[in-house]
């Protein structure tokens, strides 16, 4: 079960968003599946949020808390480590994916585990843990229904919360028949769920090691929290004798009391629920209950680089609710795979390029995968100003190309055109001359009252849109003639 599609966190070049979007946009079934699903979720989210009169105050509180965490992350991380130790758990610090994979694989090997059960975790997808474990002879079984579907299909997730959002039930039925050998299976959701449940129950009972991500970790108490809907997370964290939790260092919240804010923000934003069905808290190990061994893996993997960027830093506030995906007009049409990352949608467009670093053509295209409509900022429960970060990252991409791209970067047609235009706009006489020149030079294109075809890179405009030609008189010419100046 290998994943065919490379993504931003794999080695090698990934396609640009434009290249991948073209493919996704042509997939009618995907367009319909995702269009329907996102429309439904976003309507429900709006209703769930409307119930709370203090929603805006809650958002502000979420933002303030996360901002404080980022400002004092060094102290909170040490406090968390101490709290986990006190509760009888182990803490591992890892700089990157390689170190994280190595440590988790070693823990599994120490317990002679040939198979591990997993709770849905994007952090483990980010480091390609499943593939690494497979190479080490350990099979990782995804237990979240949608992750399970994706794993069976050998695909990557297309949504933070609903990884199989691009699939409809008929497709899932066919997949289960093919891969699980399920017979007499209808495409009723309850039947499909049951088929997965039968298969997974056995896995839960046999597994020696459970692997999970973390939604939050409380610095004060060392408690790690998993928020989920299916109960698979509860089983993964309680049944196997060894529990390994991998979390990005930004997932910290200072105190237990802060759950008051986040547990109101997260379920309403992600699944439009007042409260999610299962919320599990683990504080180290306890006698006679749950795992006998608890490991918390604290991962950097590019996060401290983000922390060092004044504008980019707010990206780390993200609590992975996926509300921004569901309202994004780009995501709604292209789906998640066009982003070539385990983090798709607007948050992915700012998180992925920062995690892997500016200067890779595939991920450098992501900040441009937005019309800057701002719908994501409006719904973000921790007030990440995604459009602001998108614009900031576009600036970093261009400056990187201009300053580090040598002669090629400087002679890039877009760069030359933009610089020429900026120069023109800086001088009124040049600007007025350019207006006149454009009016005269458009004649070969502007026949029959509209421009039907533009040359070069501008051709994208006229693929489906006519363009109005420049009229005889500019506004300033009218103004001057009217005022006789």
């Amino acid at each position: 079960m290998t994943i065919e599609a490379p993504d931003a966190f794999s080695k090698g070049r990934t396609p640009t968003f434009e290249e991948s979007a073209r493919e996704s946009l042509a997939n009618a079934q995907l367009r319909r599946n995702i269009g329907k699903a996102t429309q439904a979720i976003r309507t429900r989210r709006a209703q769930a949020v409307e119930e709370l009169p203090d929603w805006e105050e809650l958002r502000q509180a979420g933002y303030d808390l996360k901002t404080r965490v980022m400002r004092h992350l060094d102290e909170y991380l040490l406090q968390l480590e101490e709290s986990v130790h006190k509760a009888g758990g182990h803490v591992h610090w890892v700089r990157d994916a390689t170190e994280a994979n190595r440590i988790i694989a070693d823990i599994a090997k120490n317990h002679e585990a040939k198979e591990v059960v997993k709770v849905k975790s994007i952090a483990t997808d980010e480091i390609k843990l499943n593939e690494f474990l497979e190479e080490e002879g350990i099979k990782a079984v995804e237990t979240d229904l949608a992750e399970f579907i994706i794993q069976l299909a050998g695909e990557i997730s297309s949504h933070i919360l609903v990884p199989a959002i691009h699939k409809n039930r008929a497709e899932i039925r066919e997949l289960f028949i093919k891969k699980l050998g399920a017979e007499d299976l209808s495409d009723e959701p309850s039947d499909l769920t049951n088929a997965a449940r039968l298969y997974l129950r056995e896995k839960f009972l046999q597994a020696k090691v459970g692997i999970s991500g973390a939604n939050f970790a409380v610095a004060e108490t060392g408690t790690v929290c998993v928020v989920e809907s299916e109960g698979n997370g509860r089983m993964c964290t309680t049944l196997p004798p060894v529990l390994v939790m991998l979390m990005g260092i930004e997932k910290i919240i200072p105190t237990w009391q802060d759950f008051e804010v986040f547990m109101q923000l997260l379920p309403r934003s992600s699944t439009a629920e007042r409260m999610n069905p299962y919320t599990s808290f683990w504080t180290g190990v306890s006698e006679g209950d749950g795992p006998k061994e608890f490991h918390l893996v604290l991962m950097d993997n590019g996060r401290t680089e983000i922390l060092a960027d004044d504008i980019g830093r707010q990206t780390l506030n993200c609590i992975r609710c996926s509300a921004c995906l569901n309202v994004c007009p780009v995501y709604e049409r292209t789906g998640g795979h066009a982003y070539n990352s385990v983090y798709p949608g607007p948050i992915g467009a700012i998180l992925t390029p920062q995690l892997v670093g500016i200067g890779r053509p595939g991920t450098d295209s992501l900040p441009y995968a937005s019309s800057l409509c701002g719908a994501c900022y409006d719904v973000c429960p921790v007030k990440i100003n995604i459009p602001e970060v998108l614009i900031h990252l576009r600036g970093r991409v261009v400056r990187h190309r201009q300053d580090g791209g040598g002669l090629k970067g400087k002679l890039d047609p877009e760069n030359v055109a933009m610089r020429t235009m900026a120069r023109t706009f800086s001088d009124r006489r040049l600007y007025e001359a350019a207006q006149k020149a454009a009016r005269i030079s458009q004649w070969p294109l502007a026949r029959s009252g509209a421009i039907h075809r533009l040359p070069g890179k501008l051709a994208g405009w006229t693929e489906a849109r006519d363009l109005k030609p420049i009229p005889e008189q500019t506004f300033r010419e009218w103004w001057k003639s009217r005022n006789g100046s």
Binding site: A369, S371, A422
Partner: protein, 282 residues
């Protein structure tokens, strides 16, 4: 820069046809007109491609008793450069804008996104320029920048501008007007007060049309996919005119409508509001 008052179109306070705004609103215009120096920030797109919108804005404001000045040194606010990542290149344009407009007490623009650029993004540009003086000047000029509908409804407190426009019209709230400037229902209030108009609500109005500046070219496929859905909703309304407060979005929507030969036009809000029984605008 001297306040240039144009003599050819002396602002007249003639009451528009039909039931006009009450007296106290008129007196507000007069006091505003006497007290405040107002500049028109036309934007490069309107100046070059949509002069009719600029002319309509001037006529509308003058009809309401607001004499506007048009500082000829203005060019482009730098939005395209800044938002595409050419931010160092945009900084001279930010300086230029501040220099040209700082004298004025109100700066009105018939473009939500260009007004939004100045008001919401200029502080970020000044920060990037690492120039404290520019930051201070930006801080001074930005609160004086208004999108046209916002200026009329929120600043002047007028919703009935005495317009007459006997057409079936639907309205697309552009993203930067809606979410960046938060103009709210100001444009709708203005449209509903227009005489002769048949106003139809646009379904899924708040969804982006897919323009997004250079996004429309860089990600043409996605942009067109978004546009197709917007056009579908516009056609659903059976309106003959789709209006908005931004000609850049309308250029994109109108270009799509024209290509499909569906017989629906796009007209900037300023032109509808400037239209009267005596002077019908397209």
């Amino acid at each position: 820069m001297q306040f240039s008052f144009n003599t050819s179109a002396q602002p007249t306070l003639k009451k528009p046809p039909g039931a006009g705004p009450p007296l106290q609103v008129w007196s507000q215009y007069i006091s505003y007109h006497c007290a405040v120096r107002t500049a028109l920030f036309i934007t490069c797109i309107n100046d070059t491609l949509f002069p009719e919108t600029g002319r309509a804005t001037v006529e509308l404001l003058e009809r309401l008793g607001i004499g506007v000045d048009f500082p000829l040194e203005q060019t482009c606010c730098g939005q395209m450069h800044f938002n595409t990542g050419y931010q160092r290149e945009a900084i001279p344009l930010v300086r230029r804008f501040v220099e040209v407009f700082k004298e004025y007490e109100a700066i009105v623009s018939p473009s939500g996104s260009c007004a939004g650029m100045v008001r919401e993004v200029y502080p970020m540009a000044a920060e990037l320029a690492n120039d404290k003086r520019l930051a201070a000047e930006v801080e001074e000029v930005t609160p004086k920048v208004f999108e046209l509908a916002e200026f009329l409804v929120k600043k002047l407190g007028v919703t009935d501008v005495g317009a007459y426009y006997p057409h079936w019209v639907t309205y697309h709230p552009t993203c930067h007007s809606l979410r960046m400037l938060e103009v709210g229902d100001a444009p709708l209030k203005l449209l509903r007060a227009v005489r002769g108009i048949d106003f139809v609500e646009l379904p899924e109005a708040e969804q982006c049309c897919g323009f997004g500046g250079t996004f429309a070219v860089k990600n043409a496929d996605t942009s067109i996919a978004m546009l197709s859905d917007k056009l579908g909703h516009i056609l659903e309304t059976e309106a003959e005119v789709c209006t908005a407060g931004d000609n850049s979005c309308l250029m994109h929507i109108g270009g799509g409508l024209r290509r499909q030969r569906v017989g629906v036009r796009t007209v900037h809000l300023a032109q509808i509001l400037a239209s009267t029984e005596e002077r019908r605008k397209l």
